[in-house]
Amino acid sequence: MTARIGVVTFPGTLDDRDSLRAVRIAGAEPVSLWHRDKDLKQVDAVVLAGGFSYGDYLRAGAISRFSPVMETVIEQAKAGMPVLGICNGFQVLTESHLLPGAMLRNNHLHFICRDQKLRVESAETAWTADYTAGQEISVPLKNIDGRYVADEHTLDELEAEGRVAFRYLDGNPNGSLRDIAGISNAAGNVVGLMPHPEHAVDPLVGTGRTDGLGFFTSILKKLVNA
């Protein structure tokens, strides 16, 4: 038995094919989801892939958040369905208020594409169980609106509740507060991060590492054992 994992395509989504490939490499069944469909085709979990949905016009994620598919995703996420937002997907999750805070233009104002070292701070989420807390991984980072901000109170709360899921190591690439690269919701089913684990699943391409595969194997195990 395997799990069905959906990957949403908005107009302007770019990394949907990569995410579908990562799901497949992990051994789960990839399912394409279309922004205009409210129907999630009975998937067990959803990935909001990277890219520039609606060109990132207005603000990254601001227009996609209002799409029909997101109505269902928001409802299901609140009911406990695992959702992973990668890069643009993370931006959609903050715009949807499924995750707190907001993403702003990088402090150096440039798009940045590089291999990024991270520390997995929490192995308690639905998407990180295959890692150990404190584990260091490297996955590609590529964005221009990657600076995570939230007010002090929210940041303290995220830290206290163990919801800072990933932190940047070896230099903060964009000015994110407290070096935050990714966070989860209180229940741990919704996770968002700026770096791209789906680009680190095949040693032949990208940076030549497979450190990102754990996201997809984590969720598969969780769903299959559930």
Binding site: L58, R59, F66, A102, N106, N107, H108, L109, G175
Partner: protein, 83 residues
């Protein structure tokens, strides 16, 4: 047709690297005496029909839920003469 302008600026406590970059560049270009620069967005909306209290209330709501992200941004709504 009337024009309504929505200005959206980052909240004062949020770092504005774009504004800062502009400010840093000014002296090099020979412009002195600018103590601070903030950069934001300006939306010009051409509104069909009268811009009455009801219309303004709708535009305020649009700004609050869509044009601005109030986690990080403030906005103002102003009615302008249309050309």
């Amino acid at each position: 047709m009337a024009r309504v302008v929505v200005d959206v600026m980052l909240k004062p406590e949020i770092l504005d690297p774009q504004g800062q970059a502009v400010q840093r560049a000014l002296p090099r270009l020979g412009f002195e005496g600018i103590a601070d620069v903030r950069q934001g967005k300006r939306f010009e909306l051409e509104v069909e029909g009268p811009v009455d209290a009801a219309a303004l209330a709708r535009i305020n709501q649009m700004a609050e839920t869509f044009l601005a992200n109030t986690v990080i941004e403030d906005f103002t709504v102003k009615v302008e003469e249309s050309k």
